[in-house]
Subunit: 118 residues, 2 copies
């Protein structure tokens, strides 16, 4: 259940236009026409992207107004954030290793610098 929700969320996010639509909707509701404007895309092409986002639960669309404005639904993004959280110590560890490595390089450089100025 959660696995297939995550599948749908990750698949929906694997597209720059869909991520840009979410970023736009973070600023407030918008209809298809308005969402299509910044992209060199037809309204049907944008509508397809909106369907993917809606199926993934990342947006909802009003059935009341004719323009059916879209609204951001951020709950699936919390699931993504929670999922990545399991891996935090791994990327922190690799950045620690990088820090250690850069520190060593700097010390070597200083030593070489001193030798050079003798």
């Amino acid at each position: 259940m959660t696995a297939s929700r995550l599948d749908a969320t990750f698949a929906a996010l694997a597209d720059p236009t869909r991520r840009a639509i979410l970023a736009r909707l973070a600023a407030g509701e918008a209809g298809v026409m308005e969402l299509a404007r910044p992209f060199a895309m037809s309204q049907p092409a944008i509508s397809k992207h909106l369907k993917v986002l809606e199926r993934a639960g990342l947006i909802s669309r009003s059935r009341l107004a004719q323009a059916r404005p879209c609204r951001l639904q951020a709950a699936p993004l919390k699931e993504v954030a929670d999922w990545t959280e399991h891996y935090r110590r791994y990327w922190e560890r690799s950045f620690d290793r990088l820090d250690t490595y850069l520190g060593r390089l700097q010390r070597q450089e200083k030593r070489h610098g001193r030798k050079g100025s003798k």
Copy 2:
């Protein structure tokens, strides 16, 4: 550049087998044979998944040992976490609204409870 990296990362994560492989590699390096074991999948099928993960920079494979053990590379997951962070206030806000709603329901229930006990 970062956009296409995020595309590749999200697409790679949109599969439960690939996420399970990452979870296994979080416990330490493993070869294809070992990775294939818990899944009802052939080694070529697992190898395909590994290629997707490797292209997305989520794993690296040793070229030294014949078994070419795989290792988790968590840096792209940090990018995913950073990306979701922009939306934190939206999911927190929607959970706040849910809290308010549940609080109101509870107060209504209490009032009904009091009326019932009269």
